[in-house]
C-alpha cells in the first residue's frame, strides 16, 4: 500500500465525517442559501477548524458566490479543497538539513501527544533513507520515558544517548550534540519532557536546552517540531503560540489522525500563526509517519472515494 493510500485509509474516518457531510449537504441543496451556509459552518466547526477560521472560510465562500465563482453546491467542494490547500501550503519550506555536520531536530509538546513515539518513527524514517541517526532521551522527568525511547532505539536499530532519570535535560542535549559530532551522525533527534505550555519555569527549561544546542552548533536546532494530537481542540492554538514564542517552533507534527478526530485545528494554526504542518502520523506502525503534503492532505480530505 502506497503512502497516499495509507493516508487516505488513515483519513478515511476523517473523510467519512467530514466529506460525507459536505456531500450530503451538496446533494441535499439545490442552491446555496443561508441555511446551507449554516450547515457548512457546522461541518467545519465539528472538524475543530475553530470559530475564527470557519467564519473566515464562510466569508470567502460568500465572496466567491457574489463574484459568481461558485454557482451551485457542487462547485463548493473544489473551492474548499483549493482554499484549505492554499492556507496549508502557503510559505511551506522543505525539511531543514544542515549544510554540514549533524542536523539537529528537537521535539516538543504537551503531555501525552505522542512525542516519544513520533521520535521513534522519525528516526525510522531517516534511518531508512540511509542516514546515520542518533536519538537523545531528553525526557528525564516522566517515569520510564527513557526506557520507552531505548526500546524504540532497539526496534529501529538506532543508538540512544541517555542519562539517568531526573538529570538535567540540557546536559543530555549537550552530550547528544557532542556524540553526534564525534560519531558523525547525520541526524540527531532530541526528545523533551511533555510540558503544559503555560508553565513558565518548564518553558524556561526548554529555552535552556535550545541555548545549549545552538552554542555547540550555531545554526542548530535546524528543526523544532511541535507534536500535536489530532484529538486536541482549540487549545492547540494556544499551545502552538506559546511554544513558538519560547523556542521558535519550525513546524507541527500532527499525530493520531487514524482516529475519528479531524485535526482541523491545524488549518487554524496555519492561518493564525503561519506554522506549517510538516509531518503527520496516521497509525501506530513505525512506517506511519510521513512528511506532510498539503495538496495531498487537502485532496485526501475532499476526494470522493
Amino acid at each position: 500500500m502506497g503512502f497516499f493510500d495509507r493516508l487516505k485509509d488513515g483519513l478515511s474516518k476523517t473523510r467519512k465525517g467530514f466529506t460525507e457531510k459536505i456531500e450530503q449537504l451538496i446533494t441535499g441543496y439545490a442552491t446555496i442559501d443561508e441555511e446551507f451556509l449554516e450547515e457548512l459552518e457546522a461541518v467545519l466547526l465539528m472538524a475543530d477548524v475553530g470559530v475564527h477560521t470557519t467564519m473566515q472560510l464562510i466569508e470567502d465562500i460568500r465572496g466567491a458566490i457574489k463574484a459568481k465563482k461558485i454557482n451551485s453546491p457542487e462547485e463548493l467542494r473544489p473551492f474548499l479543497a483549493v482554499r484549505i490547500g492554499k492556507i496549508l501550503n502557503e510559505g511551506m519550506v522543505p525539511l531543514a538539513r544542515a549544510t554540514e555536520g549533524p542536523t539537529v531536530i528537537v521535539v516538543v509538546g504537551v503531555n501525552g501527544v505522542g512525542k516519544t513515539t513520533t521520535i521513534g518513527k522519525l528516526g525510522h524514517y531517516y534511518h531508512d533513507q540511509g542516514n546515520k541517526v542518533l536519538l537523545a532521551a531528553g525526557d528525564t522527568f516522566r517515569a520510564a520515558a527513557i526506557d520507552q525511547l531505548e526500546i524504540w532505539g532497539q526496534r529501529i536499530d538506532v543508538d540512544v544517548i541517555c542519562q539517568s532519570e531526573g538529570s538535567d535535560p540540557a546536559a543530555v542535549a549537550y552530550d547528544a550534540v557532542q556524540a553526534a559530532k564525534a560519531r558523525k551522525a547525520d541526524i540527531l533527534i532530541i526528545d523533551t519532557a511533555g510540558r503544559i505550555h503555560t508553565k513558565s519555569n518548564l518553558m524556561e527549561e526548554l529555552k535552556k536546552i535550545h541555548r545549549v544546542i545552538s552554542r555547540e552548533i550555531p545554526e542548530a536546532p535546524h528543526e523544532v517540531l511541535l507534536v500535536l494530537d489530532a484529538t486536541t481542540g482549540q487549545n492547540a492554538i494556544s499551545q502552538a503560540k506559546l511554544f513558538k514564542e519560547a523556542v521558535n517552533v519550525t513546524g507541527v507534527v500532527l499525530t493520531k489522525l487514524d482516529g475519528t478526530a479531524k485535526g482541523g485545528v491545524v488549518v487554524a494554526i496555519k492561518a493564525d500563526l503561519g506554522l506549517p504542518v510538516k509531518w503527520i502520523g496516521v497509525g501506530e506502525g513505525a512506517d506511519d509517519l510521513r512528511p506532510f503534503d498539503p495538496a495531498e492532505f487537502a485532496e485526501a480530505l475532499f476526494s470522493k472515494n
Binding site: M46, V51, N111, Q234
Partner: protein
C-alpha cells in the same frame, strides 16, 4: 486569536441596554451569539452547544432583570446556572464494594493520562487509609509497565505485573487473586490506551471487564480534547458502560469544553480532575468552577475558596479597616504579599482571575516570582518607621535600602511608585466593594 473573556464581550453587547427592565428576544439572541462562540472556542461539542443555547434562550427571554444586576450580568448568571446544572452535582466518590477488593478500571485514548491518573488515584486512596494494588495491564506501549512500577515505588503502593507477554485478561484475573491473597482492598487496573474505533482492542477491554467485573470503569479524558470528545465518550460508553469520568490536564489553559460534551453524552458524573504531574494533584470536580472556566470567566470561586482557607481572616479584617482609614502602609503591603504567596505560585492565582487566563496580555503585571522576592527584600531592608511612612525615604535612605536588599535605587523607586498606585487603586476598590457581598479582602497589585 486569543480568547477574550465572554464577560467583557457581553458587557459590550449590553452597553446600550443599560437600565432596561426585561430581557427582550433581540437582546437574548445577541447575547447568545457570543455565548455560542465562547462555548465553541472552549471546545464544547457543536451539537451540545446548540441544544444548550436553545434551552437557555427559552429561559432567558422575558425575564425580569434583577435590580442589582446589569442585563449582561443577568444573562451570564442564567448561562452559568444552566451550565452548572448540566454538569451535575459534585460526586467525587468511588463506589466501594461491600466485598473487597473494589475493582477500578481505567480506560481512555492514548496520551489521556491513564497511567499517571492511576497513580494519583492510588495516592488518593492511600490517604484514606485504603490499601490499593496497581495493575499494569498496558502491554503494548513500550515501557508503560515500567512507568507504573516507578510510580508504585514513589507511592509505596504495590504494582502487579506479569510483563508484556501475558494477555491483559490473564493479568487482570491473576491480579485479583493476588489482591485477595495480600488483602488489598482496592485494585486499580491501568489498561492500554486505544482508539475507540479499534474493535480488536475494545474487544479486549470488554473481555477484561467480563473477567474481573469492575465496580467502577472510569474514562480518562484530556481536557484539551476537541469536538471528537463526544465520539470517544459515546464509543467507550456503548462498549463498556462507564461509571465516571476523570478530566486530566486541567492545569493548562484549556477551557475544557470537553467536560460538558462528555457529561452530556454519557450521563456519567465527572468524579475527579487532574491538575498536574505531581501525584497528589487529583482534585474533586466542581461543576460551578468548570462552568465559569468554560465560559472564560476565570475560576473566581476557586480563588475565593483557596484564599479563605489560607489567608488569615483576622489579618484581612484588620487590613480592611486600615484601608478604610487609608492607613495602608508598606508593612501591610509586605504582609499581604506574603499572604498571597501562601496561595501558591502567583501565575496560578492570576490564572484563576477573570480575564487573566491569557497571561501574555498581562505585560504590566509582574508575575515573576523573583520580582516578588526582590520586593520583599526591599521592604525588609527598611526600618519600621520607613515602612509606615514612605515619605521619609530620601535619596540616601533609598541608596541604603538598595544596598541592603541587593537591588538598585531604581528598583526601590519603582516599588514605591507601585505602592502608590496600589494605594490609589484600593481607594477605588473601596467604592466598588460596597456593592459586593463577598470579597472581604483585596489583592492590590493584581489589577
Amino acid at each position: 486569536m486569543v480568547f477574550e473573556g465572554l464577560a467583557d464581550k457581553l458587557q459590550q453587547t449590553f452597553k446600550k441596554l443599560r437600565g432596561r427592565g426585561k430581557l427582550s428576544e433581540t437582546d437574548v439572541n445577541e447575547a447568545m451569539r457570543e455565548v455560542r462562540v465562547a462555548l465553541l472556542e472552549a471546545d464544547v461539542n457543536f451539537k451540545v452547544a446548540k441544544d444548550f443555547i436553545a434551552k437557555v434562550k427559552e429561559r432567558a427571554i422575558g425575564q425580569e432583570v434583577l435590580g442589582s444586576l446589569s442585563p449582561a450580568q443577568h444573562v451570564i448568571k442564567i448561562v452559568n446556572d444552566e451550565l452548572t446544572a448540566l454538569m451535575g452535582g459534585t460526586q467525587s466518590r468511588i463506589t466501594v464494594s461491600s466485598r473487597p477488593p473494589t475493582v477500578v478500571m481505567m480506560v481512555g485514548l492514548q496520551g489521556a493520562g491513564k497511567t499517571t491518573t492511576a497513580g494519583k488515584l492510588a495516592k488518593y486512596l492511600v490517604k484514606q487509609n485504603k490499601k490499593p494494588l496497581l495493575v499494569a495491564a498496558d502491554i503494548y506501549r513500550p515501557a508503560a509497565i515500567k512507568q507504573l512500577e516507578v510510580l508504585g515505588q514513589q507511592l509505596e503502593v504495590p504494582v502487579f505485573s506479569l510483563g508484556d507477554k501475558e494477555s491483559p485478561v490473564v493479568i487482570a484475573k491473576k491480579a485479583m487473586e493476588h489482591a485477595q491473597a495480600y488483602a488489598r482492598d482496592f485494585v486499580i487496573i491501568d489498561t492500554a490506551g486505544r482508539l475507540h474505533i479499534n474493535e480488536e482492542l475494545m474487544g479486549e477491554l470488554k473481555a477484561v471487564k467480563q473477567a474481573v467485573k469492575p465496580h467502577e470503569i472510569l474514562l480518562v479524558v484530556d481536557a484539551m480534547t476537541g469536538q471528537d470528545a463526544v465520539t470517544v465518550a459515546e464509543a467507550f460508553n456503548k462498549d463498556l458502560g462507564l461509571d465516571g469520568v476523570i478530566l486530566t490536564k486541567l492545569d493548562g489553559d484549556a477551557r475544557g469544553g470537553a467536560a460538558l460534551s462528555v457529561k452530556k453524552v454519557t450521563g456519567c458524573p465527572i468524579k475527579f480532575t487532574g491538575q498536574g504531574e505531581k501525584l497528589d494533584a487529583l482534585e474533586p470536580f466542581h461543576p460551578d468552577r468548570m462552568a465559569s472556566r468554560i465560559l472564560g470567566m476565570g475560576d473566581v470561586l476557586s480563588l475565593i475558596e483557596k484564599a479563605e482557607s489560607t489567608i488569615d481572616f483576622e489579618k484581612a479584617q484588620a487590613l480592611e479597616k486600615k484601608l478604610r482609614k487609608e492607613e495602608f502602609t508598606l508593612e501591610d503591603f509586605l504582609d499581604q504579599l506574603q499572604q498571597v504567596r501562601k496561595l501558591g505560585p502567583l501565575e496560578n492565582i492570576l490564572g484563576m482571575l477573570p480575564g487573566m487566563g491569557d497571561l501574555k496580555k498581562l505585560k504590566d503585571v509582574q508575575i515573576d516570582e523573583k520580582q516578588v522576592k526582590r520586593v520583599e527584600a526591599i521592604i525588609q531592608s527598611m526600618t519600621t518607621q520607613e515602612r509606615r511612612d514612605p515619605s521619609l525615604l530620601n535619596g540616601s535612605r533609598r541608596k541604603r535600602i538598595a544596598l541592603g536588599s541587593g537591588t538598585k535605587v531604581q528598583d526601590v523607586n519603582r516599588l514605591l511608585k507601585q505602592f502608590d498606585d496600589a494605594k490609589k487603586m484600593m481607594k477605588r476598590f473601596q467604592g466598588m466593594s460596597k456593592h459586593k457581598k463577598k470579597g472581604g479582602f483585596k489583592l492590590p497589585f493584581m489589577q
